[in-house]
Symmetry: C2
């Protein structure tokens, strides 16, 4: 009885997920990010304190509690992202952390949303953030897309394209244009992909006090995109000037140029990207997966100056989050990924007769000691049946214990090749030791 | 603002936890167990259907739902263990799984209990189970403790001792003794460690219809323990006979003997072990950690014939669960574990001046390509300050980019040794590449 929005994978799919998570984690650690995990729950007031989030929070109550008790601020709810709990963790442990603090966090989050394709109520996010006391150098903003590019680049998935923008570009441009309510303009332009330019222009006039010419200029800005620094000229041609706009353009150039050196084609400056969440203050990131663009962004994030602050303590940060379940759900939906076998087992030791189980266990133990995943056949059976057991699970090797002082032998059941072997020394080819995950 | 019962670790502790989880997972996979994860939630009726569990379930409701709605069977609650969700998963996916199905599952679970030392409301369990259609050969019961012994044996923790018993021994013995309500006897004997033999004897007389002599015999059985098969003689001397008792003794001997061959001293037959949960039907396991016995079992499990069954489908199984958070919580409480550094970073590339950042990024990239976790210093600073940056984080190496065609050099900041190095070829000693976790 599946529950809508709460995905569960079969063992082969779970193996693919684990491969993705391992790859992501390894990349994060190569860049010096330390792992943390936060508890699944936060007090309701923490969950609702950070901007206008529309995530539907799941509240907890104990079975034996009064069901009629109203929600209070200290009531516990499941976290809906990893950024808000991380900000709380940093403030709580500031005295025990080393800054700049580079952390990664790979955990499940929950949102009581209406489920739809590629959207879940329970899903895994993989986040990196760097935070520092008081101020955080800008170059960390340039590092984020490179890390994501490395993490996703080694996976058997379609090409990813990271789209970058900078809130300062938009706000500075709107201000330079003479529009006062820059937040409202941003929110409206953010609907571009949903409702199209004509209706965005209308709404800019109706709700943000724009003239028709101002609205058109906003749309022209949003249409600018380039893989190199040429977007700057395109913006300048629109004839708007503002110090914040200059600052934003300068920052955005740095992000694009660093990415061009590291991985050409990975990053595009895309001036329509806004990100709905209102805690971002500079760089913003989204990511499109080639062929899956209509499902929206699979990684996103940005720079935030004020998320983690309390009293006169301030920890600005920049971060990015990979929607792992979302990515896998889309690819599973297209049967785009495959595992060479659904079990870790590389060798099955055939059991010639029940009384030889101890001997077979010893053989398996010798193989495992050298890192070769091994099972002993569950029951004594003819060799043909034991080969079938391995074949049904995609296990490549069957080990036959020798009888009466004969040497053992091992059979590659794919090729049928069989050769004498010693459990103390035999190893499979590296490619067979663990399941191989690839594009289907 | 920590929340009682919801532990959060600092980065160094989290690194230790991750090391433990990796070690456990690797061992499970060496034995051919495939990973699955189940959703965090189950319908309330699933959670409450398996025996007399007193776990306090956390129920979920969406923030915008009517808070006064009463709990109904299809309401969702957080799972309190991984066995009940696994049984549901097996029934749900039986047509897509290969049997016998060996799975491991490492996830958080939640219990709304009163928190106390070593007990949590949110904690990680690491479970293995083998289930089969219709019937499961007994030898899987002998394999479980060996896997747990291997998984925990490589960790820097005090010695573990797995205590094994068999429900059939107890039930057969009580029946052979003439006691009809064997469940009630078992539940009462299970309180031995809590209330002592005198009160157990009293309660056996009062609640289980035992005579004084029968109660004494039950206590004599519970006092039996041995590291080899000699417990059988001790039971025989009590003069009770019953076919179920014979079957249980035979099974228990197999578990103890297999463990003696694999890892002498790991397993003890301990005839007082009962396990409260009533779905166990044969072998039961508990585990004590030397020096931490008073905190109770850190791994437990057993054989269950009827947990996963629906209509005429039946999937008997045997499994065991490591209480990872419980284990770590106890050891952290005694400061018994240490990590050589709280970050994955092995090398910090010193930044001589801001304009050389791109060059430093390239060096870091070369090292990362060969699997060496590397950070570039966050800001340009004198070399002394950059060494301090590494020293505060326990990072062993600082890389100095050469100026004006001079070669780069790398300094081991522990020994002060510095030598010329090429980022395309230099590697740290294996022991320095990743943080080392050890007993404090």
């Amino acid at each position: 009885m599946p529950i809508s929005g709460f995905p569960e994978w079969l063992p082969a799919q779970r193996q693919i997920e684990q491969f993705f998570l391992d790859r992501i984690r390894t990349t994060f650690e190569l860049y010096g990010f330390a792992s943390i995990e936060t508890r699944a729950v936060e007090p309701l007031d923490t969950l609702l304190s950070k901007g206008e989030t529309s995530k539907e929070v799941y509240l907890l109550r104990r079975l034996q509690e009064d069901p009629g008790a109203p929600a209070s601020d200290d009531q516990l709810g499941l976290h809906f992202d990893l950024t808000v709990p991380f900000a709380r963790y940093v403030l709580e442990n500031a005295g025990k952390l080393q800054f700049p603090f580079r952390r990664y966090q790979i955990q499940k989050v929950w949102r009581g949303e209406r489920p739809q394709e590629g959207r879940y109520r329970e899903f895994i996010q993989a986040d990196i953030d760097v935070v520092n006391r008081d101020s955080l150098p800008f170059h960390f903003d340039t590092e984020m897309p490179l890390i994501i590019g490395d993490a996703l680049g080694g996976l058997p998935i379609p090409r990813v394209r990271i789209q970058v923008n900078n809130r300062k570009v938009c706000e500075g441009f709107y201000r330079g244009l003479g529009l006062a309510d820059t937040d409202q303009v941003l929110r409206t332009v953010d609907k571009l992909d949903k409702i199209g330019p004509a209706r965005v222009a209308e709404q800019l006039v109706e709700t943000a006090g724009a003239t028709r010419a101002q609205a058109d200029a906003c749309l022209e800005l949003a249409a600018i995109s380039s893989e190199d620094a040429s977007f700057v000229d395109a913006v300048r041609k629109l004839g708007v000037t503002d110090p914040l706009l200059d600052e934003g353009l300068d920052e955005l150039v740095q992000v694009v140029e660093a990415a061009r050196e590291h991985a050409p084609g990975l990053v595009t400056a895309e001036l329509k990207i806004a990100r709905g969440l209102d805690y971002y203050t500079g760089t913003v990131y989204e990511t499109q997966l080639e062929g899956y663009e209509r499902f929206g962004s699979i990684t996103s994030g940005g720079r935030y100056e004020n998320l983690a602050s309390a009293g006169n303590q301030r920890f600005p940060g920049v971060g990015i989050s990979i929607g792992v379940s979302r990515l896998l759900g889309l690819l599973f939906g297209q049967n785009a990924l495959t595992a060479s076998r659904p079990v870790p087992t590389c060798v099955v030791v055939a059991l010639p007769a029940d009384e030889r189980r101890a001997e077979c266990d010893r053989i398996a133990g010798q193989l495992r000691k050298r890192g070769i995943p091994t099972e002993v056949a569950p029951t004594a059976a003819k060799f043909g049946k034991q080969i079938k057991f391995a074949d049904q699970r995609g296990i490549p090797y069957v080990w036959f214990p020798g009888a009466d002082g004969e040497p053992d032998s091992v059979k590659d059941i794919r090729s049928g090749d069989q050769a004498d072997a010693d459990a103390a020394t035999w190893s499979p080819p590296d490619a067979d030791r663990h399941p191989v995950i690839s594009a289907a």
